[in-house]
Symmetry: C2
Subunit: 440 residues, 2 copies
């Protein structure tokens, strides 16, 4: 029973279900790992071992009482500290919110609990889920950033402290940490996971997502979380995607994949052409498709929409509490102050054109494949790295997943990003499974 | 066969179908009326009698050849002059576009032609469908405005020049002319009629709609026009509403109606309380429901969104061709120049809250009822009147219809506005029929 903490979420759920291991033992194993490693990685914004163990024991009692067990019964989950919890503080990565106690769970936290999960603790986020880092280190190399803004969630899963964690992405905050830390990171189609009770940066761009150490875990967590909630105005009517079902299906034929570089590739490290080109060549006969024309304006449009929303939502903190905020945060918030409504509308209309262009592309391909980051996690903690490889897909709301399949010249992980058709998350899971199998 | 021009569209279609009257005779009858009355009302921006008769004769030939006839076979229709036509100029009410000849039909024009309609001509619009009037008079009193911006379409149907006409609404441009001119005006749910090939003021607010002299004609034209078109990004997936089918059904029970005043009522003429109150009391036991709270900000939000979009879309004309534009147009365009992205986003988010609040209201009521205008058409042509009674429903995209059921103190028409649930246009038609029957 050593190293329970290294198991995947579905393995944990299975052994707990079968009675081979108790939920308490699973949680204790994660807590032991954290006790050993927290000082070296700094993953947790809040952790109360007693509170976690209490939840785990309640799971064991429900099982003893013969109650039917749900999908995540006894599985520990970390929540990015912008996701409200009724029993733990939620500080949004900011001194301004030090000690803040929400009165109720975010919709996503409530869904996890209803599925039997143990909310292990709250993970470190950059301030307000932007770029002001809060001390988390890359578990593979403490001189390097784990990425952001979901720093703690990515690093905690990578370091075997917790098998599952929730993060969020407004620019590139889900998949970049996944790539840098070498775990699976999944951002579903826009509007799939309720953001009710989550700190909002930009309603049109904010996505919640999942970190895990296996694709099956991603699918399992997605099925629990992708439930329509009237508390989030932007949810899809039927976000439920039956991801586990899709994961279990076997692909008869290779999916039609296209390799895309597009404007983000201008930020790729010099070794990426060779490294990624060789990887794609080894996969199968995958054409490279150009993303040009209106795609050249996509990164600017994402910045316009993000910055304008950030100013609208966060100006009150800069106006009244500037001394409590990081200088980096203040700089980011005021970046949207001068954006005109006309430029904003133009960016939104460009986004519609991008979505239409991508719809056209997906008539020919089942998924797109590209890198999940410009390269290995950069050295230094000042910056959490470049979000360019995510921003177009955040803007257009397409589902994306990072698979930890590559290593850079320094042995650091680099993710393979697979991008699915908007609203077709199950197809993305199927393609991702095929890609993993080819790469095994 | 006198006064064919006074028949409704469905009556015309029926007699043409049966062979009692030819399409050419119908069109000729409308042209005769126009020859007699055009100088007094000034409805047409473009009219070529030969071109209209040629279309009508082609209809008669198709019938003679035994071809199956479509819903609007031989029915003359007027198009607001912001709707592109391949065979007639489209000048958008502006000297800047004098003589402009589009190369293809707008989607709506093409649908009408495919349904057998004769495009009689192009109707006068205010400049760019805003507030700069272009000379149309109210057919009931030449000292009064017909309303705007769809001035010619509303007045032409009211004056029996044409049984059907298309207009558009970004503020209150469909229902206000209907109220002032005493015809039926219908603005379907946002995203129901394609705006491909139509001059765009504000994508988020622009609606096309229908004028007619009977509710059945409204339903018939709606069924022809409410067809999904990929050329308009904002269309609903399934706009087709089977309005004629709904019109033909008999209501067993009185619909659950609520009388609303809301912020627009501040602009109502002094006699409206008594006039409209007595009308509603006579209908049946209809509660008055207050629209307050966030509704107090709705008119401002609509202005913010409209003005910001107008500046984005029309600034090029002010920047380069100001001398060709009306002073009123220039004033309206630059009104949006200083709007910030943050204020714009806040207005959009308020709109989502308004839609949610209205969804809640429609759990208790089938439709809302209110006035379609502040009162009778005002005297003078300088202003086309106040759009306040439409702007909340334009902003929230709910379907609305104006029924010509009331008269003001000077004998001028005043419309009864019925407002339906978003996406439930067939229900609105059913309720409107009930309201008309009660008022007969």
């Amino acid at each position: 029973m050593n190293d329970i903490n290294k198991w995947t979420a579905w393995q944990m759920a299975e052994v707990i279900n079968q009675g081979d291991v108790s939920a308490e033992e699973v949680t204790q194993s994660c807590l032991d790992r954290i006790a050993e490693r927290e000082d070296a990685v700094k993953v947790w914004a809040f952790l109360d071992p007693d509170l976690a163990l209490k939840q785990a024991r309640a799971c064991d009692e429900r099982r003893s009482a013969g109650n039917p067990l749900n999908l995540l019964h006894g599985v520990p989950v970390g929540l990015k500290d912008i996701i409200d919890t009724a029993d733990m503080p939620t500080e949004n990565g900011s001194d301004h919110f030090k000690g803040r106690r929400p009165t109720r769970d975010a919709a996503s936290a409530a869904l996890l609990r209803a599925a039997g999960a143990v909310i292990l603790g709250k993970t470190v986020t950059t301030e307000f889920a932007m770029t002001g880092q809060r001390g988390t280190l890359n578990p593979h190399d403490p001189a390097r950033t784990p990425g952001g803004s979901s720093s703690g969630s990515g690093a905690g899963v990578a370091d075997f402290m917790v098998p599952l964690a929730l993060g969020s992405q407004t620019g590139g905050s889900m998949l970049r940490p996944a790539s840098f830390c070498g775990v699976h990171g999944y951002k579903p189609t826009y509007g799939s996971i309720s953001r009710h009770g989550v700190f909002i940066l930009a309603r049109e761009l904010d996505h919640l997502g999942v970190y895990a150490r296996s694709l099956k875990d991603v699918a399992m967590a997605g099925d629990v979380l992708m439930v329509r909630d009237v508390g989030d105005f932007d949810m899809r009517a039927h976000p439920g995607a039956r991801l586990l079902e899709a994961f279990a299906e076997t692909e008869e034929n290779p999916p039609r994949l296209a390799f895309v570089k597009g404007p983000p590739w201008a930020f790729a490290e010099p070794y990426m052409d060779q490294l990624f080109g060789a990887y794609v060549d080894g996969l199968s006969d995958i054409p490279e498709v150009t993303l040009a024309g209106i795609f050249d304006e996509a990164l600017d449009a994402q910045a316009t929409i993000m910055n304008a929303n950030v100013w609208m939502n966060l100006r009150e903190y800069v106006d009244h509490y500037e001394d409590q905020l990081q200088a980096e945060t203040v700089r980011r918030v005021i970046a949207g102050r001068e954006i005109s409504a006309a430029d904003y509308i133009a960016a939104r209309e460009l986004t519609d054109s991008l979505i239409a262009a991508l719809d056209g592309l997906f008539e020919h391909y089942d998924a797109l494949i590209t890198a999940a980051a410009p390269g290995e996690a950069p050295i230094g903690l000042e910056s959490t790295g470049n979000a360019a490889f995510q921003r177009i897909w955040t803007l257009t709301g397409l589902p994306t997943i990072s698979l930890p399949l590559l290593k850079g010249p320094n042995g650091m992980p680099i993710g393979v990003q697979v991008i699915g058709k908007r609203g077709k998350d199950a197809d993305l899971i199927r393609v991702a499974r095929w890609v993993e199998e080819q790469s095994a």
